[in-house]
């Protein structure tokens, strides 16, 4: 099992979600985050005073998948989240020690 963390542009969430569903990925966690990489923020002006806002709104998807599915899932996210503009985001792959389904107590592959 591996955990895939993907930080993507918010409007790409639906495409990525549907793509992962198509692959058989059964669940995922989504959070609204702020961040920046090489994408610069933007300017806001209030009563003549200008502020540089560095953080850009992003969406973070966390999903745990069987190791055999990782390559396909990552390729899918890369494809669906791509725009070609700076700020498309990043994908990280992490090892997972264990996974447990709370309702039934199942672990390992049966939990995901």
């Amino acid at each position: 099992m591996k955990k895939i963390e993907a930080v993507i542009k918010p409007f790409k969430l639906d495409d990525v979600k549907e793509g992962l569903s198509g692959l058989g990925v059964q669940g995922l966690t989504v959070s609204e985050v702020k961040g920046f990489g090489r994408q610069r923020g933007h300017r806001e002006v209030y009563r003549g005073a200008e502020y540089q806002v560095d953080f850009v709104s992003k969406v973070k998807i966390e999903v745990v998948v069987a190791t055999s599915l990782v390559r396909e899932a990552v390729d899918l996210i890369k494809e669906k989240a791509w725009t070609g503009q700076i700020g498309d985001g990043k994908i990280f792959i992490l090892p997972v020690d264990e996974a447990i389904r709370i309702r039934t107590g199942e672990s390992g592959q049966d939990a995901i």
Binding site: V45, Y46, R47, A49, Y51, V53
Partner: protein, 406 residues
Amino acid sequence: MNAADTVFVLFSAALVMLMTPGLALFYGGMVRRKNVLGTVMQSFIILAVITVEWVLWGYSMAFGPDHGGVTGGLEWFALAGVGMNPSPDYGSSIPHGAFMIFQCMFAVLTPALITGAFAERMKFNAFLLFTLAWATLVYNPLCHWVWGVGGWIGAMGALDFAGGTVVHISSGVSAFAAALFMGRRLGYGRTAFIPHNLPMTVTGAAILWFGWFGFNAGSALACNGVAANAFVGTHVASASAALVWVIVEWVHRGKPTTLGAASGAVAGLVAITPAAGFVGPVSSLLIGGAAGGICYGGVLLKTVIGYDDSLDVVGIHGLGGTWGALATGLFASTAVNADGANGLFFGNAGQLWIQFLSVLVTMVFAFVMTLAILKAVDLLVGTRLPQEAEEKGLDLVLHNETGYSL
């Protein structure tokens, strides 16, 4: 007693009452989320505190029997003698109580304006003490000088239809003193203090614009042509000022902003306040338009001088009120209001000088008294919140509440 006049003044009093919660929304939207309730509470609680103060001694000090041209006495303490019959001096066609309650709403709104200067950093008990002392020692005397029978500024011939000096210059200059005394907010100049809820601010501005019809037109104290003229002038000045502010900002900063439109409208309303019953619609257009530009500049002033007037009370009320009071000395015409006077543009240069004097006196008095009151309050209970409290935010620290649990 005239039924139409009475309805009009009572209804106007209600409109002006709404301006204080309107101000709460206007200011509330401009501060950071963690301070929204603290900011709103300051305006809202003043409705309670100053209403009681007004009814007990405020009205008597402001409009009661004159003592030496300086203050009214306490003959009307707890509204003794202020009943349902008209006062011979204040609105002869309406119940005295109607005039009193109309003026009450002005007395409430004025100290609420000052809260913008010390937003996000003042202790609540200090704020209450300051507000009560300011109302008693600054607003009441000033009100008496300009509008009370026997008041010396009114006797001098100064024209102030609805409160350019009494409300706006006094609060604007007091705000300047308060901003200097309180010091800058933590992180000022380094962190971005971004308004957290501009839709709320614009709602507040709209309520202020609406209520201002009561503020200005109601000051005619009668349902007549002067009231209608004041109503028209109020609306026209606000529109003109909003337009000018937006255009100036568009050119200066590249984009027009909603905060700019709302601020411009308020600036125009402030400027027309002393003039509304004395000038015609075209004059109102010019007065408002100029206010839009002048107050835009006024708001930039704090970056130049370096004081933290958090919500621009000085730039909008202080400067706008000053321009309005002087503009009254330019544009006033007896053709509009026979009980007024002519200004410079209508052949009477003397009026401008009188207006200037009234402005100067108001500024000096308000500034000095505000500093003195703040110093006293600071010695008694301390005025500024400690650092970690300011970091945490007024809502939690002062009120144990969070503004949005959405």
